[in-house]
């Protein structure tokens, strides 16, 4: 407990930045390489902000971005969810993924004191656009004993600091495939709209729709960097495609040379 007390709250910024060195910042990162491919328990019953119950498995019949937050949080969580809102809208503006068709958003509270009312309040305060409003669910766990089971399974560590009267927890976007498996985990602070877009493409990659052909091509041009949690250009692919022209170019050069030679021979003959 002493350790937690020693931590100064970092509320203002979206990302959690510990100011005291005896708390391991890795504690608030999801270890992507360890939990990649983990399946979210489809039978967990959740309650949405309107008070109706649904199973996790019903929600993830499409790709989803999962965010774990709590609704009575007055600083970081709204800011973090707002960051996601901004990123999603900018990613959609790039024109290759559509909110609703390609991805839905689910925020779940890990605080057992939250309920449908606090969720509805939180959602209202976000002031979402109409489409996001329709495709973004703010949920709470129906059974409180599910919470720790759910979070430990994906390596999500959080704890309550009585002194600061707030939770310390990772701020991570968890990208789920339609099968309900973790495809990507991204931590806020350095994500750009393009990373968001590519992560959404990645979650859909196994389900080819002809209309997504451009999205898939874009997806191939980037590759994911685990250390930085970002996408980068897939250089070897470009170099290889470029090299396709070396041989053809050499042939065209050779052919022109022979042609000239044949012509000059015909002229002298």
């Amino acid at each position: 407990m002493a350790m937690i007390v020693a931590v100064a709250p970092g509320v203002a910024s979206g990302a959690y930045k510990p100011t005291v060195s005896d708390i391991d910042p890795e504690l608030f990162r999801l270890d992507e390489s360890k939990y990649l491919g983990a399946k979210i328990d489809p039978d967990v019953i959740l309650v949405d902000e309107k008070g109706s119950e649904f199973a996790m498995g019903d929600f993830t019949d499409k790709s989803a971005v999962l965010v774990l937050s709590y609704y009575t949080c007055d600083g970081a969580c709204p800011a973090f969810n707002a960051e996601l809102e901004g990123l999603l809208e900018e990613a959609e503006a790039l024109g290759r993924v559509r909110i609703g068709d390609d991805v839905r958003i689910l925020t779940i509270s890990f605080d057992k004191n939250d309920n449908a009312m606090t969720a509805a309040h939180f959602k209202k305060n976000m002031g979402l656009s109409e489409r996001l409003e329709k495709n973004w669910t703010f949920a709470t766990f129906k059974n409180h004993e599910d919470i720790s089971k759910f979070t430990t399974k994906i390596g999500f560590n959080f704890f309550w600091s009585p002194q600061d009267r707030m939770f310390y927890h990772p701020n991570a976007f968890i990208f789920l495939s339609p099968e309900g498996r973790i495809v990507r985990v991204m931590h806020s602070s350095n994500i750009e709209p393009r990373d968001m877009e590519l992560a959404i493409i990645d979650t859909n990659f196994n389900r080819l729709q002809p209309s997504q052909i451009i999205a898939i091509a874009v997806g191939l041009c980037y590759s994911y960097n685990y250390k930085e949690g970002k996408y980068g250009l897939n250089y070897p692919l470009f170099i290889a495609v470029g090299s396709l022209f070396i041989g053809v170019g050499a042939f065209v050069y050779g052919a022109l040379k022979v042609k000239k030679r044949v012509k000059s021979k015909e002229m002298t003959a």
Binding site: S223, P236, G254, A255, V258
Partner: protein, 526 residues
Amino acid sequence: MKEWIFTTDHKRVGILYLIGSMAAFAVAGLLAMAIRFELTWVGPTLIEADTYNVFLYFHGAAMILGFLIPGLTGFMANYLLPMMIGAHDVAFPRLNALSVWLYWFGIVLALLTFVVPDPPDIMWTGYAPYSTQYSSGNLSFYVFTVHLIGFSSLLGAVNFLCTVIYMRAPGMGWNQINFFVWTILGAFVIQLIFVPVLATAVTLLLLDKYLGTSFFVPSAGGDVLLYENLFWFYSHPAVYVILLPAVGALMEIISTMSKNPIFNYRVAVYGGVWGVVLLGSDVWAHHLYTSGMVDWVRIGMMVTTLIISVPVGLITISLVFTLYKGAIRFNTGMYYAASCLYLILIGGLTGIPLAMSSLTLHLGETYFVMAHFHFIMGMLATFALFASVYHWFPKMTGRMYNEKVGKAGFWLNFIGVNLTFYPLFIIGVEGMPRRYFDYEMFPQFQGSQQLATVGAILVAAGIAVMLINWIYSAISGEKAPNNNPWESASLEWTATASPPGPGNFPQPPEVSADWTPYDYQPRTAS
């Protein structure tokens, strides 16, 4: 000696390619024997695991890059193609000399594998990240060998495509050129387009290993799967670089020895050869069926890979039906060619389960795959090369080989390869994985492994008999009775001396509109 080193004559360049590729074949073959002896008993017996891996690497790399591709394109195209189309030489003779010496440097560099302290043990595929981050093997030898031999065949490709396009004998239309010439064209088009991709992929490996880049380092944004894709993007079409000239040569031999025109030449050329070239470039991912790619890529490539059976099937029909109503004369070359009709069946048909992603989930990376591609490359293509050397032996040397010894060598080889690879097919289906130094977990496979070793000994004896026959007959064989002992109708036999002098043709050949290289009907008019 000097005139061989500085030669620009396509025939001598061709012979140099043959000597180089047979040297690579001999070394890689001896290593194969060591590998076979090691596997004869369960447990480590003859060599250590690391040595075994180096041998395996060298056997694969040298057989494909040092023997098959240079043997079937370098030697055969160089020696035969200009004469078949009635040209006095290739379009760029000096470039041709450069490419054979680049190739020789490539083999020498590859052989240095056995001298350097940390020989590469990365298999001929060189998959990252083993090759870049974990193996102590000297990756640069692998990369520079690929570069030298790749550059050599790129030069060859430019050269021969230009030669065929611009230097055919006056009057020779596209439907009058030899089938073999078409297959060489197809093979070199593949080389031209795809070799640079392989060179690029291995160069990036080199940068990763020695300059600390992270093109294929998964923790730093590199993609391991991309290397596999780039590698096979070339290396699967490379199989057709080997297969096409092999069936081309077989078609020539079968047509000549049965005195029959090629069955359905047009379909075999435009459907078969060019079908293989077109489809063959869209099937590479069948090497990656178990590499964790998304499922729709695997399904898509399953369909394209299965469809490749159509052009290959058309070529096979032409090969077989060229015999129909023929007047077949059996010599050693024809023995090898006829056995290839059987090898292409076994090799081709065992490729069909491997085209299916769902069956490859079990069969992939087992002895079944290994036996399959040995049937195609180690036997069909290799036997086609041996058949060609026998068939064009009188042309190259002006002498006849010893028929009896040749046939004895053939039977040793033919029985040997079947004895070697049939048992391996069976234990492959039962689950014996490739590239295993030891098979402690499958002691029940020891009997089959031993049978295979017996077969390999027969093959070794057969190859020795064959090489002795070639060398002895080339030096002091019986003189060829005439310039055209097999009574072929193709230009390289009818219009040149044996062996041909400089410039090939005493008179520059000209062909009429109804001439074909397969016209065996006695002329009634004139």
